[in-house]
């Protein structure tokens, strides 16, 4: 834990015990120590593919270290928004800024598919995530630490082909984390996993987000997942932000609690009503 906290403030002096307790309490109440994450400001963002206008003007500010979930029906533009944030597509109009100049290693993406290199062992796959630091002498040690963080240090010498779906996704998470990104974008990273693996992966995501204090943007079609993980849920409809819901439920959140269910229900009914299909209850 000492390790982890020092990590939150790489430039800070080692904390004394009182600070440590204070920080831990603050973290429990959701008011975390100054974040390593970058704030994200989006102004008038537009994107179209041919005649199809996918994003019709997105204005959004995400404070540093916030966990934001983006939900919406398929084809609403949520994945496009994420790809634009990650710099994978060119912007038609508007701006995306990260507060200060972000290095390429500061923004990382995790996809629905693990996208591991099948011909590289697990550890080398994680090393890929170091970007330009791949050639440094401590690359392997850093990759090892990232693997330990996702609980897969015993799989370092395996080929990806022998791992289960959940394990592959954990390797992909280690690869995204190894460069200590300040913004991490998730494009339905748990979409292809079975229900139980999803829940343990959600816990893992929440823990690494908490420990590493990056800004997280999660695109998901699962509203329950969004309210369980995020500080804030954005509902996108027809290329615009239709609802911006703050989730004020303290962490750790208990799955299946009435608060979460109520919030999930109201977001779902918003989504369905806008499409003319009122939620039957």
């Amino acid at each position: 834990m000492q390790e982890a906290l020092r990590f939150l403030q790489p430039d800070a002096e080692p904390l004394d015990r009182a600070d440590f307790v204070e920080q831990a309490r603050a973290a429990r109440h959701g008011l975390r120590a100054p974040s390593r994450g970058l704030p994200l400001t989006i102004r008038g963002l537009k994107k179209s593919y041919g005649d199809n206008e996918v994003l019709r003007g997105i204005d959004l500010h995400i404070p540093a270290g916030q966990f934001v979930a983006i939900v919406g029906r398929s084809g609403c533009g949520k994945s496009t928004l994420l790809r634009l944030i990650a710099g994978l597509e060119t912007i038609d109009a508007g701006t995306i800024s990260f507060g200060e100049a972000a290095r390429p290693e500061d923004v990382r993406v995790m996809f629905q598919e693990p996208r591991l290199l099948p011909w590289a062992r697990v550890l080398s796959n994680v090393e890929v995530g170091l970007g330009r630091d791949r050639a440094t002498p401590d690359a392997q040690a850093r990759a090892d630490r990232a693997l330990t963080e996702v609980g897969l240090d015993d799989k370092r010498g395996q080929w990806p082909a022998v791992l289960s779906g959940g394990q592959k996704q954990r390797v992909a998470l280690a690869r995204a984390l190894v460069s200590h990104p300040r913004v991490l974008a998730f494009d339905e990273p748990l979409g292809a996993l079975d229900a139980l693996t999803r829940i343990s992966m959600q816990r893992l995501l929440e823990r690494v987000w908490h420990d590493q204090a990056f800004t997280a943007v999660l695109v998901t079609h699962d509203v329950a997942e969004a309210v369980a993980l995020a500080d804030r849920v954005l509902v996108i409809e027809d290329g615009r932000i239709a609802h911006d819901v703050h989730v004020d439920i303290p962490r750790p959140r208990r799955r299946g609690s009435a608060d979460l269910a109520a919030l999930e229900g109201s977001i779902l009914s918003n989504l369905l009503e806008s499409a003319g299909e009122p939620l039957q209850q």
């Binding site: 290693e105 996809f111 290199l117 970007g131 080929w159």
Partner: protein, 268 residues
């Protein structure tokens, strides 16, 4: 080795020595039946000599040094032709797989040339090169070129675009992307090309040697036919079979070494 074979079985034979011999049971049985058929007079020696006679002919040729010389000559032609044609095919495959301009420029031409059976060029090749070494090398290289070209190209074009995007996101340079993503991704397909090419290599060489040569296995077989030495003809055919098997085994070993990550090549 197919995926199904590589799956672990519940009652796997725990006899590694016997396991290695199983593939040879059928060829050995054929030789045995053949020998029995010849000895009992079921098959006339003028149609098919007994395996023992073939072995004897082989032994005599081996003692005279003729067999070793002819095998060596054929082997040399095959490998040099393979290396030349294979490298050119590989180079074009890389260029056309990686660069759209190169592909637009040369692919159509290569596809047209591909549809000419290369053995149909033999008369022209003889006119150009005579029955010199270069004629055989040219034909082998041409025959080997296409399977390697096509499969290298196919391999590079079918590398998962998701992986390439991943490589770009993680800041790989073009060289790194090629070394760590594109080439390893294309390798299984390149090996398919190599194995096709090995088959075509022997085929081309034998045909070329039977038609126009003054040494080599094909020449040895043609000479033997003229002197009605049917045992030597059969011997040559058997040597082709063995050489073909040898080439295939070599490529399999290479495959196993380089594709150990592939589920189909993992040992259980």
């Amino acid at each position: 080795m197919s995926l199904i074979e590589s799956l672990p079985r519940a009652n796997r034979l725990r006899l590694p020595r016997a396991d290695g011999l199983i593939p040879w049971i059928v060829p050995l049985a054929i030789i045995l039946i053949w020998q029995v058929a010849c000895v009992t007079g079921l098959v006339s020696a003028r149609v098919l000599p007994a395996p023992s006679d073939v072995a004897l002919a082989g032994w005599k040729l081996l003692l005279s040094g003729e067999l070793a010389r002819n095998i060596w000559v054929s082997f040399w032609r095959a490998s040099v032709g393979f290396v030349i044609g294979g490298s050119i095919g590989f180079a074009f495959g890389l260029a056309n797989g990686l660069s759209p301009i190169s592909s637009k420029l040369t692919d159509t031409t290569l596809q047209m040339v591909r549809n000419i059976p290369h053995l149909a060029l033999i008369p022209l090749v003889i006119l150009w090169f005579g029955i010199d070494e270069s004629a055989k090398l040219f034909l082998v290289a041409l025959g080997v070129f296409f399977p390697i070209y096509l499969n290298t190209l196919h391999g590079i074009r079918t590398v998962d675009p998701h992986l390439i995007e991943m490589g770009r996101i993680y800041g790989m340079t073009d060289g790194e992307l090629f070394r760590r993503v594109i080439f390893p991704g294309a390798l299984p397909s390149i090996f398919v090309g190599v194995r096709f090419a090995l088959g075509i290599m022997w085929l081309t060489l034998i045909v070329a040697e039977t038609i126009a040569a003054s040494s080599g296995l094909g020449y040895m077989a043609m000479q033997a036919r003229e002197f009605m030495l049917i045992d030597v003809v059969v011997l040559s055919i058997l040597i082709y079979a063995l050489l073909g098997k040898l080439a295939d085994s070599a490529s399999r070993v290479l495959e196993r070494l380089t594709l150990s990550w592939h589920p189909a090549f993992q040992k259980h």
